[in-house]
Amino acid sequence: MPEQRVVEPDYLLLEAPREKKFITGSQAFAEAVKRANVDVAIAYPITPQSETMHLVGDLYAQGYVKDYYRAEEEYGAMSAIAGAVRGGARAFTATSGPGLLRGLEAIVSWPGHRIPAVLGVMTRVVNAPLSIQPDNVEISYLLNSGLVVLHAENQQDVFDFTLAGFVISEKVDVYLPVVVATEGFFVTHAKGYVELPPEDMKLPPRDPYKAPVPPTDCEIPPARIQRDAPVQKSNFMSYLIHAVWQQEVWSANRRAAKWIKHYLGGLIEVVNPDAEVFVVASGCAAAQGREAQRYATMEGLNVGLIKVKSLRPFPVDEIREALKNAKAVIVPEHNIVGWLAKEVKAAIPNSGIVVDGPRVYGGMTLPVELIMEEIYKAFGIKKEKKVVV
């Protein structure tokens, strides 16, 4: 392990020289953890997440991570992460599909406890019949929990979102867990080019006293820290305190937007802003949408792409602005429920222009042809055209 020097987050994320590597998404997660000055990593195995946490275990063996163990199950892993972060540590864990749901009760309590941790979610089928393929229906469970949720398109996003995730989660005005979701296998087990800053640099350690909620380490006054725990009060007070606190959590979630813009260049990416028809997508579907946009342009069709990087906070204003002149909006997804289509419909005044799909699920791939079919329909092109390769 090379000796690492602490550098400022802005330097490491935005300015440091980068070298191109050809690595898997799992490796990209680990490369981010390597530079994140992580204290504690705790995880329970589940496919396709396991490889990431094997690599993080190797980082522990090399000295990059200070403590690491294989938890008894996901609920135990997520609860232990909460304990470690409340004790002032910086923590990372990851899970997939059914594991996410098993740990969900603990995970959804993190925002209320103001737990600034980073959770990697490598999406996988949840519903029966069993499959280990990368359906991303599980993301819908995370969207209403108060967590910041970023959705990575490729290995480069995985690295950038994860490393930035630690910085964003610990901003005093945010102080929330950050989820970095990506499609399992498609990204985690496939290689892509990733521009990496030097491995002999790391983020400054977490300062747990720079926080809206202090760590539980017996170093902070007053002694009677839990004297007025809301659960002890009358129901009226309990409702009120809970309601106020939830509002604050969601306000904090919205405040994350400015840091996502600062470190990740915006909540959305727009390709061809003057288009008539847009593909709006996140994660791997954005990669397929990007290809569809390219093919459509080659065929002379005025199509644009909006890649949604941040699902929470959801870029309502940005999407509304980008789609103000659109005639049709196609939302391809890797799940049956269409959670992104619902979000997009809710964000714009003329939701009738949103096409619900195409959707694939159970872990199927999303052929570009499926998106092209919807593009042709949007332009009123009846004859199905072959994709130009």
């Binding site: 603990a106 380490d217 017996c218 009677r224 839990q226 002890q232």
Partner: protein, 289 residues
Amino acid sequence: MGLEYVRISPGFEKYMPRDYVDLVKYGPFGRKVDVMDMGQFKELVEEHPMCAGCYMAYFIRVFYTALPNPEDTIVIGTAGCARLALSQAAVPFIYGNYGDTNAVASGLKRALSIRFPDKHKDVVVIAGDGGLIDIGFGMTMHSWFRREKFTTIMVDNEVYGNTGGQESGMSPKGVQLKMAPLGKKFDKINAVELAKTAGCVYVARISPTNPKRIAKTIRRAILAARHFGPTFIHAYTSCNIEYSIPTREVLADARKREKQDFKFYEWMTDEVKEFLEEVERKEKQEVKK
């Protein structure tokens, strides 16, 4: 930092509530107090929301007096009766999710060990029979298998008191409780033997009839956990409501159960025994001085 956080800022003395001043002046922070000193400072004397006559509240009050290092102790609880009192005291308290006490404690203890390698930051779990041996069973056991260095205290009222009286794994066989309409079908789980098998280095079973012995047991468990690994205390703390024990007979019930099922039992590894004997010998010498 430790004691700094239980001092009153100069100039604020006359504005502080009386109970807080008493706590700082006479409480257990930074000095060893005896259970006989309990009446001098307010710690669960008033306002705790337990039922009248609750034996668990009494046990918890003695617990706070027994802590070897209350200024650097963090208590973790879970849903149930115990947390109602635990969250009222002047020691930081974490209330996790259902049954996750020993997982939270594992992460917390490790974080504190990284951040304060030269200090003793004691982590103590106090949870009920349902939290530790039913819903949180896996997390309890695995924290012991992993040899996590904190103390687990099971306040066993043999029932889910807080949710209204359902049978738990620790309820005695045959007892009729809600969700056991025909009586409980299996025996009380032997938590003490499980703890020994799972790797606890100090294990005790008590019916809290003797406050000095409670205090000594708790202190021993915490000191042993600091250096050697997980420790466990199984304490009978009756539920006078669900088991219909008249308030004035709560202590008599504890004595009766002590004879029947909760005879004082203490087990420790040889190295723990050697360590505690040395600590207690030094303490006696200091008292003599």
